[in-house]
């Protein structure tokens, strides 16, 4: 299980991460996302929603990864092996300020 967590070691400016299973239960969390059930629930609902949206304007093509960015942080979300991986990273501009 610790090998799953190691994937986040090389993510630059990472302030928190979250690993959920396909039913939305939290398997691992760390940093800003640690014990944050609200964020985990919202992100799970977003993944279910995003799975139905096509990335292409004319063909049906679902996402491989998606990001949610505001002016301070960006959530990078991807799915693999029946798990949902979320990394919360600081935006470059706010790190330099």
């Amino acid at each position: 299980m610790s090998s799953l967590v190691k994937v986040f070691d090389n993510v630059p400016d990472c302030v928190g991460y979250l690993i959920m299973n396909e039913e939305g239960s939290i398997e691992h969390s760390h940093g800003d996302l640690e014990n944050n059930e609200n964020a985990a629930n919202l992100i799970y609902k977003m993944v279910l929603c995003a799975a139905k949206i096509s990335v292409h304007p004319t063909e049906k093509m679902s996402f491989k990864r998606f990001t949610v960015s505001d002016d301070q942080y960006v959530y990078c979300i991807s799915c693999a092996s029946q798990r949902i991986y979320v990394a919360k990273r600081r935006q470059e501009s706010s790190a330099n300020a």
């Binding site: 004319t58 093509m61 998606f66 949610v68």
Partner: protein, 92 residues
């Protein structure tokens, strides 16, 4: 009103093209997910509005959602009255 929408969409596409991003389609829908205007898009908005709403409640600030698949991506942002989706090719 349709013409105004089209003019707005065209000017938005022009801005993207000026920075070197190739726009393949634009879709504007209301907060309930009903389509208001579109250009070169044949897919219905559906859960796009819901996704934008969830993103805004996750962050509390204005957010942009970007869904990616290889080179294709769609940028979704919620404004005061509508949700805009821009389908582009990823600038490599």
């Amino acid at each position: 009103m349709d013409k105004k929408f089209e003019a707005l969409i065209d000017s938005a596409i022009e801005k993207f093209t000026m920075v070197g991003v190739d726009v393949k389609g634009v879709l504007v829908c209301d907060k309930n997910g009903l389509s208001l205007a579109s250009k070169d898009v044949s897919i219905s908005p559906g859960p796009t509005a819901r996704l934008a709403e969830l993103a805004a409640s996750l962050s509390g600030r204005r957010t942009t959602v970007c869904l990616e698949h290889n080179e294709d991506q769609v940028l979704i942002q919620q404004t005061d009255k509508a949700v805009v989706s821009v389908y582009t090719k990823h600038a490599t």
